[in-house]
């Protein structure tokens, strides 16, 4: 199973990490979408398990969660989804989700089952580093990396604590707010990346609000090891629900465009 470490050490450019909600808009279409993303050049996948009350997500991902749940996606069914992706290509997968789903599944069993299916890490959106010890032992013993979030208002002391418990990569939020595409980058991100880079060699990936190739290139120039793009891609699903062919074509061309921007940047 391919690790984050392998991906980051093999790449001589910033990694492209698209985000999808598993089962959006339904299991089969979602599978086709994620395969398209893989074919178009995704280096790592960030996948969400839909939740009824996603407090860290803006309207775009909320609607994706609702579409997926309405189509009948269950937590157990996402295991099958992940296996199918891994059968298609051995690409690292990070989950981004909410704690109650893990808690109800059973923390220990959750990490074992999802690691077996092919997941490299599980980022819990509504759990801060203070409670991370509720999941770290289970994650580690199952063989997963432990990814945590740093935000622009994280204090230096907390940043050190978060870095000390993180493996794989640090999920860096580029702004104060929830997920969602934005017309401009926040301006807080460069400083945050440079702070983290002084503190650790763990790769730094940036997400939230990155909405176009220019944003991605700017994040890469700021020194990030990966860019995570969620809402912008999920919008392409939402806007093309009636035309799957067009949906897949637009997702493919968007990912290709971002990837090219990251390639060009690395050749400069």
């Amino acid at each position: 199973m391919k690790t984050y470490e392998q991906v980051f050490s093999e790449l001589n450019r910033t990694a492209l990490i698209p985000f999808f909600v598993i089962g959006d808009p339904d299991f089969d279409t979602s599978l086709a979408i994620v395969k398209t993303a893989v074919d178009s050049g995704a280096d790592i996948l960030e996948l969400g398990i839909p939740f009824s009350d996603p407090i860290a997500d803006g309207p775009t991902i909320q609607k994706a969660d609702i579409r997926a749940m309405k189509s009948g996606i269950k937590v157990k069914k996402t295991l099958e989804f992940i296996r199918k992706i891994k059968d298609y290509k051995d690409i690292p997968i990070g989950l981004l989700m909410y704690y109650n789903l893990i808690y109800q599944y059973g923390v220990e069993r959750f990490f074992v089952d999802f690691h077996q299916a092919g997941v490299n890490s599980v980022l819990v959106a509504d759990m801060s580093i203070d409670d991370a010890d509720e999941i770290i032992p289970s994650a580690k013993s199952a063989g997963l990396d432990t990814v945590f979030i740093v935000t622009p208002n994280t204090s230096p002391e907390r940043m050190k604590l978060i870095v000390s418990k993180t493996t794989g990569f640090i999920y860096t939020v580029s702004l104060l707010g929830v997920t969602g595409s934005r017309s401009e980058l926040s301006g807080m991100v460069e400083e945050l990346i440079s702070k983290l880079k002084k503190l650790t060699d763990i790769p730094v990936c940036v997400g939230f609000g990155i909405s176009c190739a220019e944003h991605a290139a700017a994040i890469a120039r700021a020194g990030a090891d990966g860019v995570i793009i969620g809402s912008k891609i999920v919008e392409l699903i939402e806007h093309n629900l009636g035309n799957h062919e067009k949906m897949l074509a637009e997702i493919s061309s968007f990912i290709t465009e971002v990837k090219n921007a990251l390639r060009i940047h690395s050749n400069l």
Binding site: D126, T154, L175, V178
Partner: protein, 392 residues
């Protein structure tokens, strides 16, 4: 965070990292100011002059005759704004002022907390935004209008069922993006630490007053204290005065909705399973995988799938007992209190009265029961009219 904010294993602060600094700031400020001389003086003055405290403890003679035991009503319906919510909004509003914050946000279900926040926003001259589900906006339109009159902006929340849970989701999202200058004035003794502790503190005046008043009036403690429970702020407020009085039974009454069997209710403690929502571990109405259930209740203020963490602990230790009252029982109780006492209770508070009616004939005539009449029912008249049209 200095404290863990746990009640047994319940509570905590399960929130995105971005909210931690602002919760830390709130915790620090609360413990800095709550015993600060200026803060205490200003709060006491405004509690009296603005909110109208202390509220009366009233012996409801005709209602007592009907149920066959002695019923005292703690008249929180007489707090300025029409509900106990004003105790907490005044306390937290002043805290926001002492912290130097200039903007308030709040969630609301029935609109009582939203209205109380809007009033405090006006009192303190702060810009106020109230998040309210679209279903609740429709069924509590009078309160929406009042909030706007007080200068607040009411932001409709369309997610989920358009009720309290969804309003909290969006308020949390908004706060995440505006942590620097905005104070989230949380309405219930629920949500992430330090809110359960802060809200209980500002509502504990209900319990301490009630204890003193009942001793003054009858020279002994009540046998039972009853309050409705949604998130649980009015209940924890009145319970807090009697937690150490082991002989005083504490009863929390949840929203039984259409019926417990139908699944259309909001009785988290009575039928829920432990889970995590809105930053706290608590009893939660959810499906087998942990997706949060949609709830239903005739009272918007109790229409919430989780509950404050301290109530979870009180349930587990047996110190308090929790039961549910169904909508039809509640409507009966509403009509009865109007007819017997000339008091229109909020449908939320009426759940506690419905429990009392269910005890008719089961308690002896010397039994003394205190009910927290947490709000007034003017806001609910059109709902009652819809369910129980008046006969000519």
């Amino acid at each position: 965070m200095k404290y863990k904010g746990r009640f047994g294993d319940y509570g905590g602060f399960y929130v995105p990292e971005v909210l931690i600094p602002v919760l830390e700031e709130l915790e620090e400020a609360f413990y800095r100011f709550y015993q600060d001389e200026h803060f205490v003086t200003e709060l006491a003055q405004l509690s009296k002059d603005y909110n109208g405290r202390p509220t009366p403890l009233y012996y409801a003679r005709r209602f007592s005759e009907y149920v066959g035991f002695k019923v005292y009503l703690k008249r929180e319906d007489l707090v300025h704004g029409g509900a106990h919510k004003g105790n907490n909004t005044l306390g937290q509003g002043l805290l926001a002022k002492y912290m130097g914050k200039t903007k308030l946000i709040a969630e609301t279900g029935a609109g009582q907390h939203g209205l109380a926040t809007a009033m405090i926003g006006a009192l303190l001259g702060m810009e106020t935004k109230i998040f309210m589900g679209v279903t609740d906006i429709e069924r509590q339109s009078v309160n929406v209008h009042k909030m706007k009159l007080c200068g607040a902006e009411v932001i409709p929340v369309e997610g989920g069922t358009g009720t309290l849970k969804d309003a909290i989701n969006d308020a949390l999202r908004y706060w995440t993006a505006h942590v620097m200058d905005t104070f989230y004035l949380f309405g219930s003794a629920a949500g992430p630490h330090p809110y359960p502790t802060i809200v209980k503190y500002f509502q504990s005046c209900i319990g301490s007053e009630t204890r003193r008043q009942i001793l003054e009036q009858i020279g002994r403690l009540p046998d039972m204290v009853v309050a409705c429970v949604g998130g649980g702020s009015n209940a924890i407020g009145i319970f807090s005065g009697f937690l150490n009085d082991k002989d005083v039974k504490l009863i929390g009454v949840e929203a039984g909705g259409r019926s417990l069997a139908s699944g259309k209710h909001a009785a988290s403690l009575t039928t829920g399973r432990v889970g995590i929502l809105h930053g706290a571990k608590a009893y939660l109405l959810q499906d087998s995988e942990g997706q949060v259930n949609e709830t239903e209740s005739v009272s918007a203020g109790l229409d919430y799938p989780a509950v404050g963490p301290e109530h979870c602990l009180l349930k587990d230790t047996g110190r308090a007992q929790y039961v549910a009252a169904e909508d039809e029982q509640v409507l009966d109780a509403f009509e009865l209190l109007c007819k017997k006492e000339g008091i229109l209770p909020a449908l939320e508070s009426t759940h506690a009265l419905a429990y009392l009616i269910s005890q008719k004939g089961k308690l002896n005539s010397e039994t003394v029961v205190v009910v927290n009449l947490s709000g007034r029912g003017d806001k609910d008249v059109s709902i009652v009219e819809k369910h129980r049209p008046l006969k000519d």
